[in-house]
Amino acid sequence: MEMLDRLLAEHPFFKDLDPRYIKLIAECARNVTFKAGDFIFREGDPSNKFWLIRSGKVSLEVFAPGRGPIMIETLGDGDVMGWSWAVPPYRKQYDARALELTRALEFDALCIRGKCDEEPKLGYELFKRFAQIIGQRLQATRLRLIDIYGGRS
């Protein structure tokens, strides 16, 4: 548990979070490893986990009939993966596949949601951080929508 606390405290995602809360969150976390090619989750799965990637690379994919899987985002060292655990209907919207050996901290979302209900301040802190992640993903998606590499001759 001690080591998990330290890993969490050092991660930029939890920067400046009250050590008391770090301890609470750590109770919901464990270390996991995925081999290259492993599916971490599939579209439609219940969303009851999220991950902090410590090292490795994961691709989020959509399967399109006739076109096969399309990678829409890759996540790597230090990235947070998964936010659908935070909002109903708590379902995964993409496939996630490890592209290489990937080590991560895995969080039990039911456990986290329970702690947030007990400690609303923790819930607020956590949701502020996840809102930032969601905003970043949205912005990256919009930049691709306007095809930012298009215009130059």
Binding site: P69, I72, T74, R144, D147, Y149, S153
Partner: protein, 301 residues
């Protein structure tokens, strides 16, 4: 008062408005609509003057990374194209051209031994001398890698003079990437961090990053207090790149961008490329960001 008047030799090629004929040595297809041309001054093709001799009239002109030439096709027109070759080998002029209009389409259709007119080099350069001793982060989007390649060559040729070097490159798909072979060569070196990303890809065609180029900036290794950033791509890409660099605590005077405008005369006479108080052809195309911050992103400039 007597003034010693040196007899002047007037060379036609010394006139910046007169194109010098160059011969196409080879054409390489980079992507379906983008081609790299290698050109050689026609005069040196006849053995004199020596192709390694540089200076006016020799047909070989030294250029600085980031500068551009005007390429002229008789009866079609003239366009500004940045130089994308190695500044240490100015005898071969290298241009990467994307076929987007009448002139660029005709240039991309050129074959070996055909002739193209060249005026230049013109414009400002990437600050490779000022950046000595600094970490360098290079951010390129799409065809924006072409004007940066001479700077990359320079950095690698003088690698010991710089700190860490990171090259971040984004393209729409793996097929739209320029200089793929060189990118993987650079990626294999121990002394440069190369991160490439595409907007979307199939897992069987791409094993790298997927996402916009701005997402790579948080992964680049550099010390924000001693870093120079070189950025080139479409303006909207540069805008979002600058925001990310600012998040990494780079100041505006550490960021350099290369602008694109409709250059005609290339020597600051005609005003076609006016950008606020600047002419992109003469004061640019490379600007330190703090100098154009007020104009950048404004509409109708």
């Amino acid at each position: 008062m007597a003034v010693a008047v040196k007899p002047q030799t007037i060379e036609i090629s010394a006139d910046p408005m007169v194109p010098v004929p160059y011969r196409v040595l080879r054409v390489r297809r980079e992507t379906p609509d983008t081609f790299t041309l290698e050109l050689e001054a026609l005069t040196s093709a006849f053995g004199h003057p020596s192709p390694v001799q540089t200076g006016e009239g020799s047909g070989v002109r030294a250029f600085a990374p980031g500068q551009f030439n005007m390429l002229y096709l008789f009866g079609v027109g003239e366009v500004p194209i940045s130089i994308s070759g190695d500044p240490a080998q100015p005898e071969v002029l290298v241009h990467t051209v994307r076929a987007v209009g009448a002139v660029t389409r005709a240039i991309c259709a050129l074959k070996r031994d055909e002739i193209v007119g060249v005026r230049g080099p013109f414009g400002s350069a990437w600050p490779v001398a000022e950046a000595v001793g600094n970490d360098i982060v290079i951010v390129a989007g799409g065809v924006g890698l072409a004007p940066l390649r001479p700077a990359i060559y320079h950095l690698l040729n003088h690698r010991h003079e710089y700190g860490r070097v990171a090259l971040l490159y984004g393209a729409r798909t793996p097929k739209d990437m320029l200089y793929k072979r060189e990118l993987s060569e650079w990626r294999g070196r121990f002394d440069i961090q190369v991160e490439v990303t595409v907007d979307a890809a199939r897992p069987d065609e791409w094993r790298g990053n997927v996402g916009v180029v701005t997402t790579l900036i948080s992964r680049a290794n550099f010390d924000p207090f001693h870093t120079t950033a070189l950025v080139c791509g479409p303006e909207v890409m540069m805008r979002f790149t600058i925001l990310e660099l600012q998040k990494r605590e780079l100041r505006d005077d550490q960021i350099y961008i290369s602008m694109e405008r409709n250059m005609k005369c290339a020597i600051g006479f005609c005003g076609h490329c006016q950008y606020g108080p600047n002419f992109v052809c003469k004061d640019g195309p490379v600007f330190r960001f703090d100098k154009v911050r007020e104009l950048f992103g404004k509409r109708e400039i």
